[in-house]
């Protein structure tokens, strides 16, 4: 709770006027610069000069020197005195009379101006008028009023009377505002606007009224129940009240502390949090006040100063008590005189760091985190509290002078594993929060290594991203640690990150083989992916054997899923790979499929190889007993798809084997590839009886050819159906009919009719014939239509042509005949299409130009 904010230092010891005047007691004091004035109970004003000295050890002491004294001959106590240095006067209140003395020799001011009937007075520290040689004073008089005066060095000019509801016992003045303690309550009067504001009741039985101006437009009053009430000039409060002790005598203020004195103690409250910070026993106090920022307090015989302890020292005191919040508040609000902003910030940051370590040791992790970050603590200072988390290469020495007295977290947690765990979690969140920020600059390795070690202990999945990319983790420290905690997969990733892929792969093979375990390891396919993306092909070959033996089907991805922009390499040429793969039949197939279907390599070798492998697979299956039919069907359909799709394999080679095994469907496709359609269709019809497939065959094999080719195929199929040599030809009547009536089939009708058996009835053929006729008719009409339209078009174009050529023939008297060169005597003449004009008799043949010999069309159009 407490803090040492002030030291009590004697200023004037064993005050005495004359040795015999033992009864003389201090009533009031005022300090102005080096001048200290004392008013006594027996009507003396005494003048001292005091000097403040600071010893090298920071201790302050005072030396006082009495300058003189003055007896005012009224035999009454001096109630109040106040120096007005601008006027070179002291205002003295004695026996209800306010008078002025010279500041230096204490003689009465010339003119002897005085105000009578005064019970209390105060100066305006926030004057409203600009004249520096006038002092504004407010006095309480016995009647229900206060009076304002402007006082110069020889005059007291009455300005205004302000009447009140009750008699004021003490007052404060700020600007136009008078704050007064009346007999039953406090009130506030703005003498400019005339506004009166009642504040709150005074409980005279338990409290002495106090009106203390603490800053511009703010007063502190002693309220009921020993509360110190803050009131602004507007009559409202902006701070919660202070809890004081009873029977206060007087109050002083130096930022940010309120000092209040009763007959036993001086208590010190902070106005920042309204809490009491210090209590100094002080018996028999008479008066306490602040004078230009310095606090003096008097008992009846002695005067002391309350010297503020330097704020830095107070802060360190608070920190030593682990009161971080108060320390930070005080540091923020202290008087930073003589400090540049940068300098203060530097000091403040250090305080934040100290506070952070205190919160850290109290396990207030949220506050600690904020303070560590705001105070920009050196992250290594924090990491170094955790044994073995710093990189071994680090030569970090803890900050000097030390920021804390923590040895390490084991000391803080008394080795309680739960608490150690909490500390570790805190470090994780702290490091995560600064990782990548500018606070982490330069400490990447320290941060990442520490995180790695923490994650490894916790087996956190965060390990993976940490070692995979942009990692500050070095191998030296981390390998050992990861091995210790058996985090093999992250270890392998770290090796890989540092380019030691062989070591990484070695670990992964052991993980796959089950020699070691790590639940973070995603499994075999992960290794395959790594190998598939590896640019070091020698290394790929080193592990391929192992991988393929583990799982051919997965591992073939090493070859088939290479990075798309990988340049072709000798080590991974398809031929090399295929040669290598002969031990792994499944893998070869997948690889060839990849080459043929995906890469679309048009090499006979691969196509034939793949077809042969498919075929072998089928043959193999057919030889096996108890094999499911579906399985064979699957294999064969794969084969057929290949045979149909590709045209690059060696057909004869496959056909030979297929024939041996009576694989009719495949043979049909192969014959098709050889364009031996009759054979193919015969197989489909006779052997497989698959008429749909036959029809399909015609369509597929005529794809991309002209209609004649298609008609020929369908005709072959029809002839196969109707082959008179076939004994079971009756069975094929229906399919033949279906074919004839099919919508997709296409025939040359005349040829069809030729091969239709004679015994077929018209009824049987009627549908086909009707359709044929209708189609023919339709075609016929369409053709004619087209022809006529073409002719129309032709005519149109001709017309345009003629119009283009149309030219008048101009005959003149001297135009000669192109043949005889004589002029024309008659109006008739001949003109050839090429523009030659002759006499009629000169035009021997109208189809031959007589000049050029050009032949003109004989057909009239």
């Amino acid at each position: 709770m407490s803090i040492k904010a002030f030291d009590l230092v004697p200023a004037v010891e064993r005050f005495s006027l004359m040795s015999d005047k033992a009864k003389t007691q201090i009533e009031c004091i005022d300090v102005c610069g080096k001048n200290l004035y004392i008013g006594t109970n027996d009507c003396f004003v005494v003048h001292y000069i005091i000097e403040e000295r600071t010893a090298p050890n920071g201790k302050t002491s005072f030396h006082s020197n009495k300058q003189g004294h003055k007896y005012l001959t009224l035999k009454k106590p001096i109630v109040q005195l106040k120096a007005a240095s601008a006027l070179n006067r002291i205002l003295v209140l004695c026996d209800f009379t306010l008078t002025m003395l010279n500041m230096l020799d204490l003689e009465p001011a010339v003119g002897g101006a005085k105000i009578k009937g005064v019970t209390n007075f105060c100066l305006n520290d926030n004057p409203v008028q600009g004249n520096p040689f006038t002092v504004e004073v407010c006095v309480c008089v016995k009647k229900k009023q206060v009076q304002l005066y402007n006082i110069t060095d020889d005059k007291m000019i009455h300005v205004k009377d302000i009447s009140l509801s009750e008699t004021a016992s003490c007052i404060g003045l700020d600007g136009h505002v008078i704050c007064a303690a009346l007999t039953s309550q406090y009130c506030m009067v703005n003498y400019d606007s005339g506004q009166h504001t009642d504040l709150f009741p005074i409980d005279l039985e338990h409290t002495t009224p106090i009106v203390k101006r603490i800053s511009k437009e703010e007063f502190l009053l002693s309220g009921p129940s020993a509360l110190g009430m803050f009131v602004t000039s507007e009559g409202i409060s902006q701070r919660p009240p202070l809890q004081w002790s009873e029977r206060l005598l007087s109050v002083g203020y130096v930022k940010p502390y309120i000092l209040a004195m009763n007959d036993e103690f001086i208590t010190i409250h902070s106005i920042l949090d309204q809490q009491q910070k210090q209590a100094i026993p002080f018996q028999g106090g008479v008066v306490l006040n602040d004078f230009d920022g310095r606090i003096f307090v008097a008992s009846s015989k002695e005067i002391y100063s309350l010297v503020p302890v330097a704020w830095e020292k107070q802060v360190q005191g608070l920190l030593a008590d682990k009161r971080t919040q108060e320390a930070l508040d005080l540091a923020r609000n202290a008087n930073h005189v003589g400090l540049t902003k940068e300098k203060f910030l530097k000091i403040f940051r250090r305080i934040q760091q100290q506070a952070a370590f205190i919160e850290f040791s109290k396990r207030n992790f949220e506050d600690a985190l904020d303070l560590f970050r705001e105070g920009q603590v050196d992250v290594r200072e924090v990491i170094s509290l955790y044994p073995r988390l710093m990189p071994t290469s680090s030569s970090y020495q803890r900050c000097m002078p030390s920021l804390h007295d923590i040895a390490d977290i084991n000391q803080l947690s008394h080795s309680d594993q739960n608490i150690v765990g909490e500390y570790k979690l805190f470090l994780i969140s702290f490091l995560e929060s600064i990782r990548g920020t500018k606070d982490a600059h330069g400490f990447k390795q320290e941060i990442d290594v520490a995180l790695l070690k923490l994650y490894a202990e916790n087996n956190s999945p965060e390990l993976l991203p940490l070692v995979e990319e942009d990692s500050g983790c070095d191998l030296k420290d981390c390998v050992e640690w990861l091995e210790k905690y058996k985090r093999y997969h992250p270890l392998a990733l770290l090796y890989r990150y540092h380019g030691e892929t062989d070591k990484a792969l070695n670990i992964w093979t052991r993980l796959v083989n089950g020699e070691i375990q790590d639940e973070l390891f995603p499994g075999f396919s992960f290794v395959v992916d790594i190998l598939a993306s590896l640019s070091d092909h020698d290394l790929v070959w080193k592990y391929v054997d192992w991988a393929l033996e583990k799982d051919q089907e997965l591992s073939i991805k090493i070859f088939t899923e290479r990075p798309s922009q990988e340049p072709p390499s000798e080590r991974l040429r398809p031929d090399t790979v295929i040669d290598y793969l002969h031990r792994f039949p499944q893998a070869v197939v997948t690889y060839l499929e990849y080459l043929v279907f995906q890469k679309k390599l048009e090499k006979e070798k691969y196509h034939t190889h793949l077809a042969v492998l498919y075929l072998d697979n089928v043959l193999q299956l057919m030889k096996t007993n108890n094999i499911k039919k579906e399985q064979i069907d699957m294999a064969r359909s794969k084969l057929r798809h290949m045979l149909q799709m590709s045209s690059l394999y060696r057909v004869q080679l496959i056909l030979g084997k297929a024939k041996e095994q009576d694989m009719h469907a495949e043979c049909a496709i192969l014959y098709g590839k050889l364009e031996d359609h009759e054979k193919a269709l015969k197989i489909l019809v006779h052997k497989l009886r698959d008429y749909v497939a036959a029809e399909n065959y015609c369509l597929v094999n005529s794809e991309g050819r002209d209609t004649g080719y298609r008609k020929r195929l369908f005709h072959i199929l029809l002839s196969v159906y109707l082959d008179p040599a076939n004994e079971k030809k009756d069975l094929l009547v229906q399919p033949a009919m279906n074919l004839l009536n099919s919508n997709v089939a296409d025939f040359d009708v005349a040829k069809v009719i030729q091969i239709i058996p004679d015994n077929w009835s018209i009824a049987l053929m009627s549908q086909f014939l009707k359709k044929a006729i209708r189609t023919n008719m339709h075609n016929n009409r369409m053709t004619r239509l087209e022809r006529m339209m073409s002719r129309g078009e032709n005519l149109l174009i001709k017309q345009i042509g003629i119009e283009e050529q149309e030219d008048p023939v101009v005959m003149t008297e001297d135009r000669p005949c192109a043949v005889c060169n004589r002029t024309f005597n008659e109006p008739s003449f001949v003109r050839y299409p090429n523009g030659i004009v002759t006499h009629i008799h000169c035009a021997k043949n109208k189809h031959v130009c007589p000049v050029t010999g050009k032949l003109f069309s004989t057909t009239s159009s």
């Binding site: 509360l227 009240p241 202070l242 949090d273 919040q325």
Partner: protein
């Protein structure tokens, strides 16, 4: 007397809470400001909190309910733009005090001071033992606000709260703040998001509260 608040920031509005001692005024405020429920010593004199509301600062004054502080409370009411008149739902005398003792204190508040009646410790009340009916309380709340325009506000100026569970707490304050310092809509949403109180808990309850306290 608690809460170190930097004093330099000037408040844009002032709200105050009045009510008998131990009705739970301090608990209500600290539930709103700190989002926590805890035990507090009986308030001495008054206490003070600053709360950010949009870009504004609102001064929230907590007063002491004990009779001996009545004179002070009236002083602290000066310039208040809104006041909570709090009573304990389980103690009908605390309800009667509102009329008898606290309403007159608001004479020094702003002329258009909003008076929100708040029944506290809802969690401790059994609906069967209800002493003050909702209708009666709403009637009272409407009556004391009849001279000001509250038509823009969301509901009647009567709430039943529990500082213990957080029930309806932030609603009371937001109701008052939006009366003193209306924010535009977008800001309102932001406020909701930033509130110190466990909203997931509170907003559900607030909904129920509406149907129970604001029969229209």
């Amino acid at each position: 007397m608690s809460a170190a608040v930097p004093n330099k920031r000037k408040a844009d509005a002032k709200v105050i809470i009045l009510g008998d001692y131990a009705v739970g005024k301090t608990c209500l405020i600290s539930r709103y400001i700190d989002g926590k429920y805890g035990q507090h010593e009986s308030t001495i004199g008054a206490a003070f909190f600053l709360k950010q509301w949009g870009s504004y600062n609102v001064a929230v004054w907590d007063t002491a309910g004990d009779e001996k502080y009545t004179g002070l409370s009236s002083f602290y009411c000066r310039n208040a733009g809104a006041a909570i008149l709090a009573f304990d739902l389980n103690k009908s005398t605390s309800y009667e005090s509102l009329w008898a003792r606290f309403l007159p204190l608001l004479e020094h508040a702003k002329e258009d001071c909003l008076k929100v009646v708040v029944g506290t410790k809802r969690d401790a009340m059994n609906e069967d033992d209800r002493e003050i009916t909702i209708d009666e309380a709403i009637e009272f709340a409407k009556e004391i606000n009849k001279d000001i325009d509250i038509s823009k506000l969301n509901g009647e100026p009567y709430f039943e709260t529990s500082a213990k569970t957080g029930y309806n707490v932030s609603k009371v304050f937001e109701y008052m703040f939006s009366y003193c310092l209306p924010l535009d809509k977008s800001f309102n949403n932001k406020i909701d998001g930033k509130s110190t109180i466990d909203l997931s808990d509170d907003s559900n309850r607030a909904h129920r509260g509406k149907s129970c306290c604001h029969k229209q």
